[in-house]
Structures are given as C-alpha cells and as structure tokens.
C-alpha cells in the first residue's frame, strides 16, 4: 500500500510535468511541480498557519456533522412520529444547495471559523444521517424474527443486532463525509474569511502567486487523502467481520 501510494504520487507529478512541457503553459497558468515545491518550502510558515485553520474547520465540522447526523438517524428509528414528520423535511432540505446558504451563514455566524464549521457540518449531515438511518432500518428480517422469538427487548435488538448490522452502511456515509467535508470548509472560506487555505488560494491568485495557490491546493489535497484513508482504516477495523467479495469474475 505505501509503495503503491508513492508510485501514484510520482506518476501524477510526472504527468503534471509532461503537460507543462507539452502545452508550454506559462508559469502563471500552470506552474511546473518544481516551482510549486519551491513555493511550498518558501511559504511553509504561512501555509501551515492557514492549513491549521482549515484542518480545524474540517475536523470539527466532521465531528459535529457525524454526531448530529447519527443522533438524528437514531431518533428517527426510535420514534415513529419523528420519522414521519422529520424525514420529509430532511429530504426537502437537500433541494437547497449548501453553497447557496453560505452567505447567510456568513451573515449569522461571522467571518471566523464558526461559519466554515457550520458549512462543513451541513454538507456532511445528510449523507451521515441517511446512511445510518438506512442501515438501522434494513436489518435482515431473519435476525429480527429470531430475536423476537427469543424474547428480545427493543433495546437489546438495537444493541446486539441493529446497530452492528448498520455499521457497514454508516461506514459508507462516513467515507462520503470525509471526502466532502473539505469542500464545505473551503467554500465557506471562499465566500468570506481572512484565514484558511481557501482564503490563501484566493489571496495568492489575486496577487498572481499561482505557485503558492497550487501549493495550498496540494496541502489541502494531501490532508483530504490522509483524512479519508484514516477514516477508512477505522471503519475496516470496526467491521472486521465483513467479508469483501472479489470484484473479478472467476
């Protein structure tokens, strides 16, 4: 896995360099990797400062979105009235693009981290809620029948059957959340901020520091990849019992 990762990174850098050569793109359109690497080193302090802000926004947004999403799914499963009233609202709310309400969040929560955390939270809330809700609902009826015959209570059915059975589905939701949480934070920064990698990119772009813009982008991408695979690792450990079937025809 680490070797494969290294090969992919090197291949992407080579492809990048190849495109620069072939298109003869000027550095203010597409800087070569070496320039971006240089910008990364020279501006390390500045980039780290802004990266820290964005990473906090993503991680806190992710934690909040997952917590609230999981709590919502749980409540919908436990209480029929919540399910009947809240589910249509939840689905309808997705017709509203989160990006469109970014200015409103800015207005309410201000220029700082709060509005970006809210963006990240909002953007991952739905996939997490939907994934866990579906997972809790679609428990194999054979297990449920067996539990009923055994005289199980609602509580123990949730604890021993529904929740563990929902983990693979919740895992899919969390993977999606890990992948899109950075989108929420960065879009939030674009709409209005004075810190963060999204801000740094706009700022650098406005000053024609294209190499710095790319350097910020690369740091963001690197963090997103680490976040995704970190979460993927924990999900795989949590659902160790799930046997993957081979995708190749035998």
């Amino acid at each position: 896995m680490p070797r494969k990762f290294l090969v992919i990174v090197v291949a992407l850098l080579a492809l990048w360099q190849l495109i620069v050569w072939l298109t003869q793109a000027p550095p203010f359109i597409l800087p070569p990797p070496i320039d971006v690497g240089h910008a990364l080193v020279v501006n390390a302090e500045q980039i780290l400062f802004h990266a820290r802000v964005t990473i906090i926004e993503i991680v806190v947004g992710l934690a909040l979105g997952c917590l609230i999403g999981m709590a919502s799914a749980w409540t919908m499963v436990r209480f029929r009235s919540v399910r009947n009233w809240f589910l249509p609202v939840l689905v309808a709310s997705q017709a509203l693009p989160v990006f469109a309400i970014a200015p409103v969040l800015m207005l309410w929560l201000g220029f700082g981290m709060g509005s970006k955390i809210a963006m990240a939270t909002l953007i991952i809330y739905f996939p997490v809620t939907a994934a866990l809700y579906d997972g809790l609902r679609n428990t194999d009826s054979g297990w449920i029948n067996l539990a009923r015959i055994m005289g199980a209570s609602n509580h123990t059915v949730l604890k021993y059957i529904r929740v563990p059975a929902a983990l693979p589905s919740l895992g899919s939701g969390l993977r999606i959340a890990a992948a899109i949480a950075p989108i929420g934070a960065v879009v939030g920064e674009w709409v209005g901020s004075s810190t963060g990698l999204g801000y740094l990119m706009l700022h650098a772009n406005a000053r024609a520091q294209v190499d710095l813009m790319f350097a910020a982008l690369i740091v963001l991408a690197a963090f997103a990849v680490v976040l995704y695979f970190g979460i993927d690792y924990f999900i795989k450990r949590a659902v160790f019992w799930q046997t993957e079937t081979s995708l190749e025809a035998t």
């Binding site: 029948n145 067996l146 123990t156 059957i161 983990l167 019992w241």
Partner: protein, 249 residues
C-alpha cells in the same frame, strides 16, 4: 413438553393458503411438514412462531397445558442467522444476551453444546472463519441452548452439501430426541431420515393427509429397503393430481 394444537386461516391478498386448517403437534415427537415450494409449509411454521401479522393470518396456537406458547419456542432457519460480529460462544448464548440475563452457567452450557454438535476449539472464532456446515452446527447449538419445549426448524439443512447435510440430520435428530419439534422441508429423504411423523402439505387451500410414520427409529439409514414403501407413499402424496392445477410445473 406439551402437545400443541394449531388452527389457521391465512391469505396473501386473494390467495387463501389456509382455510380452517388444523394440525396437532404431538408432544415429544419430531413432526415433519413436507411440501413443495409454495405449499404453505413455511407460512405455517412462521404462524406457529407468532411471526405472521393478524391481517395475513387468523387462528390460534394453543398448548395442551393452556399456557401461551410465546417464549417457549426455539427457531432454526435455513440461513444460520449467526451474527457475524459475535464470537461463536456469544452466538450460542444469543438468547440470554438478548434477554439481558446471561450468566456463567449459560456460557458453560454453550461449551457443552459445542461438544455435542462436535465442534471443538472454535468458541472464540467468528462465524466468517467457519465453513457452512460448521456454522449450521453452531446454529443448532444455539437452538438447543434455548431449551424450549417446542423447536421449529425451517429447512435447516437445505443450504448444505449432501454429505454434510446427512451428518447434520443425524446429529440434530439425536440431539432433539424426545423434544417436540416441527421440521419443515421439501426433501422427502430428509423427512424419512429424521421424522417420527410426516405430514404432506398440499393444495389450495392447503390440506394434510394422514401422516406417514416410517418404520424404525430416527435417524434412519437411507440405504435401507424398508424405506422404499414410505418413500413411495410420500412421493404419491406429493404428486397428487390435486396439486397439479396450481403447481403446473
């Protein structure tokens, strides 16, 4: 242990599967319900287990001792229904776990049962580490661990290969001896190997003819010539012309 009387009327939409159907389950016997796919045998078993909703099925399941049957049933299905996130030992003691009253005694008992079903050294394994036959042995141990007066078995061995199935039929029959058990199957040979009494379920609405009671004690050896007559009897009932108009296969 107690005999159980089952009265049932059931329909799915306009399809009346059972109408004023009656069956008595003798105490301490292994009773087999034999029928083709769609004959209603599985519906009947689900009804006895209390798993059918009232808009599908009306009727009663009454025990001779007049106590309700709820909480006195153990269930085994074609799928082993093992929980993949629980170790074998926890799967066997799933009943006590779900009733929040598992004790060390339950665990000890589960270890004994693992020996009974001829599995050793797997109590801390997870189901995905076991073969299909081993998993069904664990499911059998879980069923026996419930120590219920009535055991309901819904085609428990049909997913297994022939020799594993034969072994498990023998094992289950010995371990369930003298317990009230209802076995649903579509396989006449399984019925002959395991059952004290065999009812063939057939027709719409479903009916049963007089039960076939094969000679000798189960588990029976199937190579036996004496089985031939019972086998013919069962096949005749299964191929009854009355069934032809519905199952025109």
């Amino acid at each position: 242990m107690t005999a159980v009387n089952v009265h049932l009327s059931a329909k799915y939409g306009a399809d009346h599967i059972f109408e004023n159907f009656f069956l008595r389950l003798e105490s301490g016997k292994l009773i087999c319900l034999l029928g083709r796919s769609g004959s209603g045998k599985s519906t009947l078993l689900h009804f006895i287990a209390g798993l059918l909703s009232a808009d599908i099925a009306q009727g009663s399941v009454t025990a001779d001792d007049a106590k309700p049957l709820a909480g006195r049933i153990a269930w085994m299905a074609q799928q082993d229904l093992l929980l993949p996130w629980l170790k074998v030992i926890d799967n066997i003691t799933l009943g006590p776990l779900l009733r929040s009253n598992r004790t060390q005694q339950h665990v000890e008992k589960a270890r004994e049962l693992l020996k009974d079903v001829e599995l050793r050294g797997v109590e801390n394994h997870y189901p995905h580490e076991l073969s299909g036959g081993m998993r069904q042995r664990v499911a059998l141990a879980r069923t026996l661990a419930e120590e219920r007066p009535v055991n309901l078995l819904d085609e428990p061995f049909s997913g297994l290969d022939a020799s594993t199935r034969y072994q498990l039929q023998g094992l289950a029959t010995r371990l369930l001896a003298n317990q009230t058990t209802v076995l649903v199957t579509h396989d006449p040979l399984e019925a002959l190997r395991m059952a004290d009494l065999i009812y063939v379920l057939d027709g719409r609405p479903a009916r049963v003819a007089d039960p076939v009671s094969p000679p000798g004690d189960p588990p029976r050896q199937l190579g036996n010539n004496q089985m031939g007559e019972s086998y013919n009897q069962l096949m005749q009932q299964l191929n009854h012309p009355a069934a032809g108009d519905i199952h025109a296969a």
